[in-house]
Amino acid sequence: MVEQAPAWAAPLALGLLLALCVAAATFDAALAAGRGLAGALRVPWQEAARLVVQQRRTTVANDPLLWRTGGVSLLVVAALMVAVVPWGDWTLLDSAVGVVWFNAMDVLLWAAVWITGWGANSAWPLVGAHRFLAQALSYELLLMFALISPALGAGSLRLADVQAEQAGLWFVVTMPVAFVVFCVCVLAFSLWGPFAAPIGADLGGGVLAESSGVDRLLVLLGRYALLVAGAAFAVPLFLGGGEGPLLPAVLWSVVKTVLVLGLLVACRRRFALLRPERFAELAWVVGIPLVLLQILVVSLLVLGRS
């Protein structure tokens, strides 16, 4: 049974989120140039230090309010997503509609990324921002259907119930398509790997073209935090939550999150960039029918059980 964690657990969860961000950045650096894990350990810290001391570049007639708000929002959204995740037997916020909560938070990214691109008052960031909205229109329905599948299987929108329903058989077994689609959508809203077109090099950095210093650091950190939040969410949704032998449930949740996170991070250097217009057709013509079939299978399983 999942219980409400005490208030002091909130900074602990935030610390875990940031620690996993650093771990993800280190892993990505290790994969990057084949320099090995030892050489990669200092890369995220070096990059962070460089950005912290870097002088902020400004543009003419920018919109500092929207620009800064957008940059911070990625990290805030990720933290709000993590707030409803059950870690083993504990959760910070036991929402009765945790699945919808996640969905509402990821929609906040539509606004967050767009205003980050808008705020610079520069053409390439705005093109990147529009690209992200095109990408979001493609992945959002997929993500909604992928989220509905486990909720349907458990008959509840509460993450604790979804997690408890998987004792014995994890949902990843009965809903593999939903799991894969969910992971793809996490990559897409994190602007990661094949879905990095909104910050692509062909736009001179897109949304991030004019972003520098601490602002840039916050967006880059926010991207990792979104990957962590997505990975953490996949665990109660599809991977049985804290279920596992020997170790306490909390640790199993963390271990599974780290494994999913590693998989997501590795996608960056495994797959080529997928342009938004190609992704649109793939998502709507191939993805949506597939995930609807997945929901049909889950519905039949639920009906057969009752």
Binding site: D63, V107, V285
Partner: protein, 186 residues
């Protein structure tokens, strides 16, 4: 006490940012001021324990405002959309309607004698909401959804500049020619 303070904070945020739509000098700020107003309303619904409705309000409105920002910038006088501007189109009239309807609704909420609550809230409000929509009203939903769907398809057909004859040739036997190629290699 905390809930009261939160309520007033959110209520004032909702009204103030709704009013800011008329005061700010940029289309993007106006759009997202409206989005903030809706998010505050959604948060007030969360305070009322209407979890599902509150979150859906946030979800729908932020999504809608993000898309609306693109369209507003697309149609505004300055095509680049990067310079400041304000909503000069009948500003006074729009503000009169907005402030007027706010005053009428607020007066209604304050002056109407509210009835005493009968019964208690169900354990699972989301479930009750679902049964309310999908139970006895299912026939209405079944009627509305094809009409809505037909409207969407119809307006897309009317708006689409290219039909299948443009794509596949007069005899529909040519390989598809699209200005923007899709992901399926068609």
């Amino acid at each position: 006490m905390v809930v009261d303070a939160l309520f007033w904070l959110l209520a004032l945020t909702a009204v103030a940012s709704g009013f800011a739509v008329f005061r700010v000098s940029s289309m993007a700020r106006a759009t997202f001021a409206l989005a903030v107003s809706f998010v505050a309303v959604g948060a007030v619904m969360l305070l009322l324990d209407l979890d599902y409705l509150g979150l859906i309000t946030v979800l729908m409105m932020v999504m809608e405002m993000s898309i609306m920002a693109v369209f507003m910038i697309m149609y505004m006088m300055n095509p680049g959309g990067l310079m400041p501007m304000s909503m000069y189109h009948n500003k006074a009239g729009a503000m009169t309607v907005a402030v007027g309807s706010f005053v009428v609704l607020a007066a209604g909420a304050l002056l109407v004698p509210w009835p005493e609550r009968e019964g208690v809230a169900p354990a699972d409000i989301t479930l009750q909401l679902g049964e309310g929509i999908m139970g006895s009203k299912m026939l209405v939903m079944l009627t509305i959804s094809p009409v809505l769907f037909a409207t969407i398809v119809g307006s897309l057909v009317l708006a689409a500049p290219r039909g299948r004859y443009d794509r596949f040739g007069d005899d529909l036997d040519q390989p598809a020619s699209d200005p923007v190629p899709g992901g399926l290699g068609r």
